[in-house]
């Protein structure tokens, strides 16, 4: 297991290398001159040449890539020409905020999805099952930005229960309670679609297991349905549920972009969108690198957790 984990970790090196090449080359394809963007339209040819030399833009592309990668590995992603701040300094706090939203949404999606899937699988082909699956089908197709707006209409505008914008109230007390109140709606909007998929997967995988012989044996021994479901079926159903939950993380990070925008959540996704609109290439490059590395690492963690939970998946 440890050897396999190390092998997987080493296997990440070419993937991360590929990611860095793609991001670097894509950003090089952008039409326009970085030096001119930094110095403005009134810059002289001499000053432009000096800046290009200072930035290393007159060097061969592979040299530029090597230097960029070296700096990136040392935590330097360059300077934003729009907001005049180091990219890392700009992204790290946003990354933390996205982690809060993504973590809460992931927890909500897994707990909600597994609970609904369990309820449906425990009473297959009943009203409970049909309602749960019907709702999860509709929710699974809801755009997160639209669901976010609907939640705002109900809970912020009509009922006035929850705040609709930001992470903290501008005049409020701040602190954990304020943060949690602001987190509820964005987390629900982000978690809804992945949660619906987890619910359907949980139901399908539990129903498959509930038809197996060892479950029949457990039932014939006189075990209660609850014990059969919780102690025997769910334990075996975990690995596929976990795998599908891990796969939802990508969707969740994508969905978080929209909910961050709708709820004014100051996260990485919102920063990415505003940088895209402002054509701030340095920040787009940095944010893409951040997100890709995070995504790859999370997928690795899910795979390893899966191996830990399911001995059948371990290599011989």
């Amino acid at each position: 297991m440890t050897v396999y984990a190390l092998q997987r970790l080493l296997g990440l090196v070419p993937v991360l290398f590929g990611i860095s090449v793609v991001i670097f080359l894509t950003m090089k394809l952008i039409p326009g001159d970085v030096a001119r963007a930094l110095l403005g339209p009134m810059a002289t040819d001499q000053s432009l040449a000096q800046l290009r030399h200072a930035l290393g833009l007159d060097e061969a592309i592979y040299v530029q890539y090597g230097k960029w990668l070296w700096r990136a590995l040392h935590g330097d992603l360059g300077l934003s020409p729009i907001v005049h701040k180091p990219v890392v300094e700009l992204l790290v706090p946003k990354f933390g905020n996205t982690l809060i939203l993504a973590g809460a949404s992931f927890g909500l999606a897994v707990v909600g999805g597994v609970t609904v899937g369990l309820l449906a699988a425990a009473r297959p082909q009943t009203v409970v099952d049909r309602t749960a699956m019907g709702v999860s089908l509709v929710v699974g197709n809801m755009p997160p930005f639209w669901l976010g707006l609907v939640l705002i209409v109900f809970f912020a505008i009509n009922l006035r229960w929850l705040p609709s914008l930001g992470m903290y109230s501008s005049r409020g007390p701040g602190g954990l309670e304020d943060l949690l109140l602001h987190l509820i709606m964005p987390a629900v909007a982000t978690a809804a679609a992945p949660g619906a998929i987890i619910a359907r997967m949980t139901r399908a995988s539990l129903l498959e297991i509930l038809g197996q012989d060892y479950i029949k044996v457990a039932r014939s021994k006189g075990l209660s349905e609850r014990a059969v479901l919780w102690l025997h079926a769910l334990r075996v159903a975990w690995p596929p549920i976990l795998t599908i939950s891990g796969l939802q993380l990508g969707y969740l990070l994508g969905g978080a972009v929209f909910t961050e925008e709708v709820f004014g959540w100051p996260g990485l996704g919102r920063q990415l969108v505003s940088s895209v609109i402002a054509r701030d290439v340095q920040v787009v490059q940095g944010a893409a690198l951040f997100i890709a590395v995070m995504f790859v690492l999370v997928n690795l963690m899910v795979d390893l957790l899966n191996l830990y939970l399911d001995p059948r998946a371990r290599p011989a």
């Binding site: 793609v22 197709n141 209409v153 969707y251 895209v276 290439v281 997100i291």
Partner: protein
């Protein structure tokens, strides 16, 4: 005339194998009520979008001459008006053109590119397979929507760039499906037999691999369309896709968001249309899977 000859003459001509398969496909598909419902919804939405100049009650781009943010049920404006006094129903009908196109076109284009790459990788194998698949693997390291946003960031916002970005992000997923299908078929006996009989690579691909690779790709593509309608609406909502004033469901939700506190229906109605359209494509995708894949039949 012998009775035997008479029997042959009066016997109805046997349907060809292809038409029998088509008849069975239609029968299985039509048995699935959800799939038929999905098809009806797609026909209504797509038909309305195509016939927009004929059936749209008002001009989608100019004010309908009533007050702004008119509520649902206003006489002459069944679904009310938006922040500029434009008829919401008319914009929904016209918006179907852009919204459905940016959902369908990238999926189909990506499917065609994937068909080429997947067949190439699966059939040739070796270095070609390795290079294609490892190059595409890099794309799996990015969440789909975020990659599309980053690509739009590089090439600039707009409907064409949005479709290009969505095509690029879908190619790796569809290629994987085609490659897997190719690998599962290429070593089957009937393909080996054709190869042993001296069939050219072109014939092998055209007559034997392609017909077996197309059904899984078609099923996969049909389920992707619903997802792409939601994703493309999202890009337009963020201002990175279809640009106002062109009517588009995502743009409508985005504009409606600005007047959410005064008239919630401006943002919520287009959202309902997006959900229904995405559901319809998913229903059809499920129906196609059942009709094309015998293993998926209930």
């Amino acid at each position: 005339m012998s009775t035997a000859t008479l029997a042959v003459e009066t016997e109805a001509p046997r349907p060809r194998r292809g038409s029998r398969a088509l008849a069975q496909f239609v029968r299985v598909f039509c048995r699935d009520r959800q799939a038929v419902l999905g098809l009806v919804i797609i026909a209504i939405t797509g038909g309305a979008a195509l016939a927009a100049p004929l059936i749209s009650p008002w001009d989608p781009l100019s004010s309908a001459g009533v007050e702004r943010l008119a509520p649902i049920g206003t006489p002459g404006h069944m679904l009310g008006t938006d922040e500029q006094g434009r008829d919401i129903l008319s914009r929904l009908i016209w918006g179907g053109r852009a919204s459905l196109m940016v959902g369908i076109l990238p999926t189909v284009t990506a499917g065609l590119v994937a068909l080429f790459l997947g067949l190439l990788a699966g059939d040739l194998g070796g270095l070609v397979d390795h290079v294609i698949m490892r190059a595409l693997d890099v794309f799996f390291a990015f969440p789909l929507v975020l990659l599309a946003i980053a690509i739009v960031g590089v090439i600039g916002p707009g409907m064409n760039n949005q479709m290009f970005a969505l095509t690029v992000v879908l190619v790796p997923y569809s290629t994987r499906v085609v490659r897997t299908a190719t690998l599962s078929v290429k070593h089957l006996d009937f393909v080996e037999a054709a190869r042993a009989l001296g069939a050219s690579r072109r014939r092998l691909i055209g007559r034997h691999l392609l017909p077996n690779v197309l059904p899984p790709l078609l099923v996969y593509t049909s389920t992707l369309v619903g997802m792409m309608i939601v994703a493309s609406a999202g890009l337009s909502f963020l201002g990175l896709g279809v640009q106002p004033p062109t009517p588009d469901w995502g743009v409508m939700v985005g504009n409606g968001r600005l007047v959410l506190y005064r008239a919630a229906h401006v943002a919520t109605i287009p959202g309902i249309v997006i959900v229904v359209a995405a559901l319809a494509f998913n229903f059809v995708g499920d129906g196609l899977r059942e009709a094309l894949d015998p293993r998926a039949r209930r």
